[in-house]
């Protein structure tokens, strides 16, 4: 059976096509494009991706409105069943607002929008989303966000560290995130949220291909289960 993914588009999403192309090219599978107002998702998905952008114009808080849209109830339901869910940038903000990941993403500490390549450390190379990387590997992935300043209380941060749920850390000052956290996993390990954009780094024309291994990890993980 071919790899099957869904990419959700909210009004104001702008990285949904890039995400769909990355998944298609790397998996060779099928990507369903799903609109935020749809109440149902296809069944038997291998991956659900929430893309970057400015859903609902970032009204109220980044990701707040999208997290309450009809399709998100279906995403939460499938995530709780163990379907892999990847949220990038605005998708990460939506996942925290929907309660699928702990913490919140606040305005960048430097106030300005940050748009550049950053170096990341692969903090956990055993997860569904990171197993194709080497532990501690340094990778380069672009960021483009205004609200990427990860916040959680100290107790939550300690728990995330203790449970190996910090997937990626910034190796340079970026947005003021607590403990330089760039990507976070849920307790079961099937939901990853990250501010950097792996889908924008999958071929030499992008300036590098360090993002490929994230998608390859999901593919390999599923093959290992099959």
């Amino acid at each position: 059976m071919p790899f099957t993914a869904a990419v959700i588009t909210f009004p104001g999403s702008n990285c949904d096509r890039d995400m769909a192309v990355a998944i298609e090219e790397i998996s060779g599978g099928d990507v369903h494009r799903v609109w935020h107002g749809d109440a149902a998702l296809p069944e038997k998905l291998d991956l659900i991706a929430l893309p970057g952008g400015f859903s609902y114009g970032d009204y109220l808080r980044s990701g707040a409105m999208a997290a309450r849209s009809p399709v998100m109830q279906a995403v939460v339901e499938q995530a709780n069943r163990g379907v892999p869910v990847l949220g990038v940038c605005n998708g990460f903000q939506v996942l925290t607002e929907a309660g699928l990941l702990p913490g919140a993403l606040m305005r960048n500490a430097g106030i300005r929008f940050v748009c550049r390549e950053v170096k990341l450390k692969v903090e956990n190379a055993n997860s569904l989303f990171t197993s194709a990387y080497l532990p501690g590997q340094t990778i380069t992935i672009p960021v483009a966000h205004h609200d990427g300043n990860y916040y959680a209380d100290a107790e939550t941060l300690d728990r995330l560290e203790g449970e190996g749920r910090i997937a990626f850390r910034y190796l340079e000052a970026c947005n003021g995130s607590q403990r330089d956290i760039a990507g976070v996993l849920n307790a079961k390990g099937n939901v990853l949220g990250m501010m950097p954009h792996p889908e924008r780094m999958i071929e030499p024309a992008h300036g590098g291909s360090d993002g490929r291994k994230l998608f390859e990890s999901v593919l390999h993980g599923l093959n290992a289960l099959a």
């Binding site: 109220l60 607002e97 913490g103 919140a104 606040m106 305005r107 960048n108 959680a152």
Partner: protein, 78 residues
Amino acid sequence: MKVRVHVSLKNGVLDPQGRAIHHALEGLGFSGVNDVRAGRLIELDCADDVTDEALEDMCRKLLANMVIENYRIEKVAA
């Protein structure tokens, strides 16, 4: 019934916007401001039978992000 919901950042949560406003005030020559915290005011025009419980629920489910924010509900005489 007019309801004002005041949303503010919890104590201990750094406020980059408040800090930028503070710097801007200093840049304009205003001295003596010790700290600035920026929040949000949401005004609701509600039917009279909307309960206090429903208002609390609205705040917790959407109007405030309970990870980083507090809220205060103020009912205003029409």
